[in-house]
């Protein structure tokens, strides 16, 4: 045996989606393929919080269907970056919460399902927020300045508590905030106020650490009915909405020839219709339906890409979409890397199956209709 160090060619490896074998650096042994999922990597991030908690930073956000949107995650990340290692990030979620906020940087979580969830309860929300501020004495309160109600709540609470506030914050530093003024010709800066309302995009939500993600119990006190009365939500039909505002988009690309079926699928989900550049250039869809760099940038909760390969310019337009579902005959198309669910199949067959399955099945909501039809 010579003294030369040799590298074991059969070190642990994993297979990438492209089918390429990658050696996992830092792993010893003679094993074969090992599982190294993104989840495993995320949980291997170190905990940010160490030692005894001294102060608090509070993040407040409304949830949507049990999850937080991108601006809310940015606010949590902002608090986690600002906080020193002994300051926990406390997150007050108004509405149901069904996801783990630890990976986003939250250390302690208070979910208040009595608020939010689409209801307009400003008096209750302000009372909950001031109660939480009273109890935890956070140094700063960070909120997304979003039209879902969080921006409104922040302004109400700051006015009610007579606290200093910075709204539409475009730049956050460890010691100052900056906002645009005079129509964007001037940047105004000040030290960190009590309330910080962040504009979207001011923070990079990627964190090299994770939060403890511990749920705390909280019971909201009832508040006497105030001067407001909520008469409920009135959704606008998806097809009538501009694409930028739509929550569910069914988009078709070069792999789809049958426009009426796309419309039927969109109708099924009450979705707006989008299209890729190729489909628009071919004249199958009008120009105002085009999604991507030369079309529209969309922020839907669900983006269903049917027969779209996912050119960079198209992916740029759907960056803010939360759930992307792709139906494509090519599993190696770039959209498969962006999509949360990729169906590898002929688009036409799956679309027809979607329509017929939804029509055939007895969904709970249809029972009443059927009874009426029978009677």
């Amino acid at each position: 045996m010579s003294g030369t160090r040799r590298i074991n060619p059969r070190r642990p490896f994993r297979i990438t989606p492209e089918g390429i074998r990658r050696i996992v650096l830092g792993e010893e042994g003679d094993a074969g393929e090992i599982a190294l999922s993104p989840v495993a990597m995320a949980s291997s991030k170190p905990l940010r919080l160490v030692g005894e908690a001294t102060a608090n930073l509070l993040v407040v956000a409304h949830s949507d269907r049990g999850a937080l949107d991108a601006p809310a995650r940015e606010a949590i990340a902002a608090a986690a970056i600002l906080a020193d290692p002994a300051t926990p990030v406390l997150v007050l979620v108004l509405g149901d919460l069904a996801e783990d906020l630890g990976p986003f940087g939250a250390d302690r979580i208070l979910a208040v399902p009595e608020c939010g969830n689409g209801a307009f309860l400003p008096d209750l929300e302000v009372s909950v927020l001031s109660d939480v501020i009273d109890r935890f004495q956070p140094r700063h309160v960070l909120m997304p300045d979003s039209p879902t109600g969080t921006g409104d709540l922040g302004r109400r609470a700051a006015a009610a508590l007579d606290a200093e506030i910075a709204t539409h914050v475009v730049e956050l530093k460890t010691d100052s905030v900056a906002c645009n003024r005079q129509g964007g010709t001037v940047l105004a800066r000040r030290g960190l106020p009590r309330f910080i309302l962040l504009d979207p995009g001011a923070i990079d939500a990627a964190l090299p650490f994770r939060g403890a993600g511990k749920r705390l119990d909280y019971a909201a006190h009832a508040v006497a009915p105030g001067l407001y009365r909520d008469l409920g939500l009135k959704p606008v039909a998806g097809a009538a909405l501009p694409l930028e505002e739509a929550d569910f988009i069914v988009a078709a690309g070069n792999g789809v020839r049958d426009v009426p079926t796309v419309e039927a699928v969109a109708d099924l989900f009450g979705a707006a219709i989008g299209a890729s550049r190729v489909a628009v250039d071919d004249g199958r869809f009008p120009k105002d339906k085009q999604v991507g760099a030369t079309g529209k940038t969309v922020q839907a909760s669900v983006y269903m890409a049917i027969g779209i390969s996912g050119a960079v310019q198209h992916l740029q337009g759907i960056r803010a979409c939360r759930h992307v579902i792709a139906i494509n005959s090519d599993a190696s198309a770039p959209i498969a890397r962006r999509a949360d669910l990729t169906i590898v199949a002929d688009a036409q067959a799956v679309m027809q199956a979607l329509v017929s399955e939804t029509a055939r099945r007895n969904w709970p909501g249809d029972a009443a209709d059927e009874a009426r039809a029978d009677g």
């Binding site: 970056i81 307009f120 940047l187 407001y228 669910l341």
Partner: protein
Amino acid sequence: MDSWQLRIAVLVSIGRNPVSGAARPDRNDLLALELARKAGGELTILHAGDPNEPALADYLAYSAAPLEILPMPGGPDIVPPLAARLQGFHLILTGSRTEGGEASGMLPYALAKRLGLPIVAQALDLAVAEGQAEITQFLPKGQRRRITVRLPAIIAVHPMAPLTPRYSHLRRVSGQSVTLPAPASTEAASTAWRTEPARKPVVLQATEKKSGHARMAAAITSESKGGTLVTEGTPTEKALAILAYLRSHRLIEF
């Protein structure tokens, strides 16, 4: 029945043309004025600022209401004098955010606190009946919310309100503007802010101290980004996989 007269105040500011920077009526405040005109009643337009600003007279062209100007030289806090003038109005309308100036959107909330009135922001439409205002409120993702609020109330109008303000030169030349007496004592505005020339804001990022090995590991996992892949099964099974995904994330109701 008309013994009760609805009194509406519309708060206006000086906007600026985004291209030339010239002073002009604020687009958001014009929407508030148009919504107030639609609601009917006795209208008053109120501005706190420089009475010699020529762009103010343009507000006269958008309604037949008188324009009152509270002279506020320097930079004092405009909330106390405005609140004093706004006593006795049933509805106070304003835009959601000024085009020029501070543009924080805090004024309606500060006034609401000072006057003890309810405030509804993001209003798209407004109807007044029986001492109540019914408001259609803008929410993202194509949602609209209807709210009733007891008068008096403050309402901030959303920039997407479906209204078209109409300019009339006749109204502009025949309209009246009144400069109110300057408020006696004023509180100084917050001096915490310093201004600097505009530039592209710096995005706040977490600093990362990682070893070469950790960076390489992160690069490997980012390659595997991508969700579930469904390749097997009939089209029906695949369609059901989509429906199951949507249902498990509470994205569809059926």
